[in-house]
């Protein structure tokens, strides 16, 4: 095959895509989604409409939706990332891909129709080459749309909002990658049935099915990891119930056979994380937690030790006169400090909530406690759930607002202890300071016990992970699936009499 043939095939694929009405509709929709990124600026100080014509603070925006004031040091970044994830990962990654599946499913059946096939296949080009050209036309269809949407949004955010995650650009590639996997199903079904309807329905079902299989498998793997951690801690000796072995084996078989379409989200998330997150300022040397940096307005005191078990880390906020107005301490201790003994004769691990309960009972009895302590839970960064107790206590001169949060990471209990002087600010200011601090926390180990399945898989999955959770293996087996389907299509195509 010479280069003129390749050029002709490429030009034809491009023209076929451009002539497609659904493609043009999707281009318009992509522009509709891109346009707001040029008209609305998501700035650190708030949301700016039409280049500063009107600016709303984040508190105003949150209030308009009946939400508590959202404040975080990186709220701009979070807001933009949320929009990018929602539009590209959510909208384009699901509804958009469904549209694209429907729009490209007729490419191959139309080529194989009598009359059309005669003209095309009588040329000195192999049948499989022509089939691959149609497959590539479909992939090109999505690639153009994905790059338009992602690049357009990226430029819009960069120019008008002043920030956009460079790793966001990978989303275009992963959208195209996912479609390339799914499109191989469409092409194979089209060759076997020569029906657009059959290709569309089968591919849509496959897309949903493979997503469900992969999510199910992640949950299964998470459960296995939790059980393995239990065994390692001596809390369990058997690896779960055997009743569902057939179901688990079936799920495993499906997972390893089918393309792992949802892994693309984890690949992008991993890339974004590696590009946007810096080295932590503090890593607990004998534990599992790290602290990315100091929250706004706070500075760490005595950063010489990194063992939170022996020396709590302390962050202090001072006023203009150098007087302390708030203090946050982070420490670690063992969760096996209860009276309940497990089968191994060791004290059982305690839930973080039990510490906040004990604390609140003790505080209630403490005469220096002003009001009844309030308990609650608060989601921390990185999927860590914190059990909190808040109270007001009598200080040297005035009352001090206190808050203490507990979270468990395997054997460890991490305690955040905060105290706020009255001149620090309102309750909202205190909440904001705590949120900003919790935002800085990162779990350093892939502990399944303390993470939900998605967060655990996010941490476990990667380029250098063991083979079961390795990105190369995921991509390799997925591409293998697509290659096998295309080879099946080739086999069938070679036997068709036109």
């Amino acid at each position: 095959m010479n280069r003129y043939v390749l050029r002709a095939l490429f030009e034809d694929a491009f023209r076929q895509v451009l002539d497609d009405k659904v493609f043009r509709l999707l281009v318009v929709l992509a522009i509709v989604l891109i346009l707001p990124t040029f008209l609305i600026g998501i700035r650190p100080e708030g949301i700016s409409l039409l280049f500063g014509w009107k600016v709303y603070t984040y508190a105003e925006v949150s209030g308009a939706f009946g939400q508590a004031a959202a404040q975080s040091p990186d709220i701009q970044v979070r807001f933009i990332q949320g929009l990018q994830d929602g539009i590209v990962g959510g909208l384009a990654g699901t509804v958009g891909l469904l549209f694209c599946i429907a729009a490209t499913a007729f490419f191959v059946p139309r080529m194989l129709e009598k009359g059309a096939a005669d003209t095309l296949f009588s040329r000195p080009v192999g049948r499989f080459t022509l089939l691959l050209a149609r497959y590539c036309a479909g992939v090109l269809f999505v690639a153009v749309l994905s790059f338009l949407l992602v690049l357009g949004m990226h430029i819009g955010f960069r120019l008008v909002s002043g920030w956009s995650d460079p790793a966001f650009l990978w989303s275009a590639l992963t959208l195209t990658y996912v479609f390339a996997l799914v499109h191989s199903v469409s092409v194979a079904v089209a060759v076997f049935t020569r029906s657009s309807i059959a290709a569309i329905l089968t591919t849509l079902l496959f897309f949903v099915f493979t997503g469900c299989v992969h999510q199910g498998w992640i949950s299964l793997e998470h459960t296995r990891a939790v059980q393995a951690e239990d065994i390692a801690r001596g809390e369990s000796e058997v690896e779960g119930a055997k009743g569902f072995k057939l179901l688990k084996d079936t799920l495993d078989a499906f997972h390893w056979t089918l393309p792992k379409t949802t892994d693309s989200d984890f690949i992008v998330a991993g890339l974004r994380k590696s590009l946007t997150e810096s080295e932590p300022a503090l890593t607990d040397s004998n534990g599992l937690l790290s602290v990315v940096g100091s929250p706004d307005g706070f500075e760490r005191e005595d950063a010489s030790s990194s063992d939170l078990g022996s020396n709590p880390a302390v962050w202090i906020a001072r006023d203009a006169a150098g007087q302390e107005k708030a203090r946050i301490e982070l420490s670690r201790r063992s969760r096996r400090d209860g009276d309940v003994i497990d089968a191994k004769g060791k004290p059982k691990l305690r839930a973080p909530g039990s510490y906040s309960l004990d604390d609140s009972k003790l505080l209630e009895k403490d005469p220096s406690t002003r009001d009844k302590p309030v308990r609650g839970s608060r989601p921390g960064a990185d999927g860590l759930p914190f059990a909190w107790v808040r109270w007001r206590t009598q200080g040297e001169t005035t009352d001090v607002n206190r808050a203490r949060g507990f979270t468990g990471l395997d054997e460890h209990l991490y305690v955040v202890d905060a105290s706020f002087q009255p001149h620090f600010g309102t309750e909202d200011d205190r909440d904001r300071a705590l949120d900003r601090f919790l935002d800085q926390l990162r779990v350093e180990r892939k502990s399944a016990t303390n993470l939900n399945a998605q967060d655990w898989y996010m941490r476990t999955f990667g380029w250098s992970s063991p083979w079961r959770h390795n990105a190369f293996v995921s991509i390799g087996t997925s591409l293998l699936f697509a290659a096998v389907l295309l080879l099946l299509a080739r086999w069938r195509l070679s036997r068709i009499d036109f």
Binding site: V5, A8, L9, G115, A116, T119, F121, S122, P124
Partner: protein, 315 residues
């Protein structure tokens, strides 16, 4: 035959369903033929005779046949065998998203032509098929006749040496048909071999050098137009003025005299023609025309097909 461009030997093709192992429909049943360079080869036969299957086997559109087929000395499964082959299928569907010009660039490119060569060829070709004005309109907007013309152009864009035309004038108006006939004859003059499959027997008679008549997957007869249109033994005469005494003048010469004014026809053996002319001249009759009558291709074709249907095959 010397300088053969295409040959098939004992070609058989049975269409079977996917999991069918036996039976099926025999589309080709032992076809053997050879086509020389620079000829126009006509393929005739009723529907289902196997004409299109034969073309498709030669173009690798139909596989799983038995016997041997060679195009430019190569098996049809070898894509190189189609480098110098053009094909206009019957009831073709060309990519509607392309303009006529883009279509020719696509098919030219697929045949390995460079863009520079195509730049030089496309405009004259569009002109030859009468599509210059509509060249930049989308194919899906073309009428049936226009699609046929652009289809013919795509078959010729890479300057093939062998062209298969399956019903090339289908849907084309009489002026267009004449243009296509003219183009086919021009191609023949330039040394191109044409394989013409048409139901229009007059067209085949006017254009083809050799003709194959097929039915039920077999060749019933192959030969030149003259071979396939033998003399009927009837000679048609036209004379200067009506003569009521013609039966007397021609007494003892020929059979079945039929007179119609200045024209008459007479059954004559070839050796009797001179005698009849001598008699007429001796009687002072002015002879304007003498026309020995032959079977036309349609009569020959129908006769052959009917005889096959009745049970016999003449070769």
């Amino acid at each position: 035959m010397t300088d053969s461009i295409l040959s098939v030997r004992d070609l058989r093709k049975v269409y079977r369903k996917t999991f069918q192992r036996r039976g099926g429909i025999a589309a080709l049943d032992g076809i053997s033929l050879e086509v020389g360079r620079g000829t126009i080869f006509g393929l005739l036969g009723p529907n289902g005779a196997g004409k299109t299957t034969l073309l498709k086997v030669l173009l690798d559109l139909v596989r799983g046949y038995e016997g041997e087929a060679r195009v430019f000395g190569l098996a049809p499964s070898d894509p190189r065998s189609r480098r110098k082959v053009g094909y206009l299928p019957e009831a073709h569907r060309l990519p509607g998203h392309l303009t006529g010009r883009q279509l020719l660039r696509l098919f030219g490119g697929l045949s390995g032509c460079s863009p520079q060569d195509l730049d030089k060829r496309i405009d004259p070709l569009l002109d030859r098929v009468g599509m210059t004005v509509a060249a930049d309109r989308k194919v899906k907007e073309y009428s049936k006749g226009m699609q046929q013309r652009i289809g013919l152009a795509q078959a010729l864009v890479h300057q093939p040496e062998l062209v298969f035309l399956d019903e090339p004038t289908d849907g084309v108006d009489p002026v267009g048909r004449a243009q296509i006939r003219e183009l086919v004859l021009e191609l023949k003059k330039s040394g191109v071999t044409l394989f013409l499959n048409s139901h229009l027997l007059l067209e085949v008679e006017l254009m083809c050098d050799r003709v194959v008549i097929m039915d039920k997957g077999r060749i019933l007869r192959e030969g030149t137009i003259a071979d396939l249109t033998p003399s009927t033994g009837v000679v048609h005469f036209e004379i200067g003025a009506p003569r009521p005494d013609l039966d007397r003048v021609l007494a003892g010469v020929g059979r079945n005299l039929k007179v119609d004014g200045v024209r008459f026809e007479l059954g004559l053996d070839p050796v009797e023609v001179d005698l009849a002319i001598d008699r007429l001249r001796a009687a002072g009759i002015s002879i304007r025309a003498v026309d020995p009558r032959h079977l036309n291709l349609e009569q020959s074709f129908l006769g052959l097909v009917k005889s096959t249907t009745a049970g016999g095959v003449s070769r």
